[in-house]
Symmetry: C2
Subunit: 192 residues, 2 copies
């Protein structure tokens, strides 16, 4: 058996590297994150990075997907609790208001989207995470009688991400300003 003490510390360091990686992707950009940056901020030696991960790219991928997955999964139950479709939309608008397009989380999302366009594996994982969220939202919209719930959910999700991207250089794009517009997306009702 492996020594449990050392193994625990190893897992701790691995986790720290993942957290640091998510930070640095946002700060410097995906392809500008280096082995030595990661090691320095995590308080370890550069060599240790390649002990825990097969490559820097693999570390970044696991960090980005992991962070996004846990965040999206945390949003799920909140979505379930939303009574009306409008409340579900308000939930996403609240998320929009917490970010200005230049904060770590917004940038992590955007960087990962972009990196996925150039990496097959990352693209698959990302699709999995986003699809899971979209399906949850679509189910919520369907229960509220919104027509074409799948496509509506896809457009709402894309619109929120697009607004996040645009907010970085358009400060006026706040949640209260766009809420009335986005609400129109829910207007295709089957039932009143």
């Amino acid at each position: 058996m492996p020594g449990p003490k050392a193994a625990d510390q190893g897992r701790e360091v691995r986790g720290r590297l993942l957290r640091v990686a998510a930070e640095l992707i946002a700060e410097r950009g995906w392809s500008a994150v280096s082995t030595r940056m990661l090691a320095e901020r995590a308080g370890v030696t550069p060599g240790l990075v390649h002990y825990h991960f097969s490559s820097v790219h693999a570390l970044l991928t696991e960090a980005a997907i992991g962070t996004m997955r846990s965040l999206v999964e945390g949003l799920g139950p909140l979505l379930e609790r939303a009574g009306t479709a409008e409340e579900a939309l308000d939930l996403m608008l609240a998320a929009l208001d917490e970010h200005d397009g230049r904060d770590p989380l917004s940038l992590l999302f955007a960087e990962t989207y972009l990196a996925a366009a150039r990496d097959e594996t990352l693209r698959r994982s990302l699709a999995e995470v986003v699809t899971a969220f979209r399906d949850r939202l679509a189910a919520r919209l369907a229960a509220q009688g919104v027509a074409a719930p799948d496509q509506t959910a896809a457009v709402v999700a894309a619109a929120i991400d697009g607004l996040m991207l645009h907010r970085a250089f358009t400060p006026g794009l706040t949640a209260p300003a766009v809420a009335p517009i986005l609400r129109r997306l829910l207007d295709g009702r089957v039932l009143t």
Copy 2:
């Protein structure tokens, strides 16, 4: 007077570097474009890059903004010619259909958005270009009686960009699929 022959060739090389830069931003990503890459593809020596531009970053900025500006300005007249607001939206949907989120133009836009989040100067220039387009679209929507034309235009523009980003890993997100949903955004009419 400067020798006009050499000056002409200089301008030609400068322009070629700008075109190559726009290509490489899309292919490799903003921060992964190097002096030597640019020089090789443009068929010149690495040293020449820093003769025509103060830095690689300055070259990338000028290339990205220039490409985006000329593209957006080319879209302006087409927008002017659109009769109804729905036709204006169809025009943007057609643009969406030409790109799949992994083509050079989509990636150039996304890369520039992201780079702008970390660079004040780029952010200002980008805001100028995007605002110009948004204003044109808003004017078109206002003429068609759409309520809150400014915010509507902002949301439509952001939604199109967001859809482009999502299309990279969600192939089903085609223009025909999302057109009926996006059309709801124009439903806030003052006049019939």
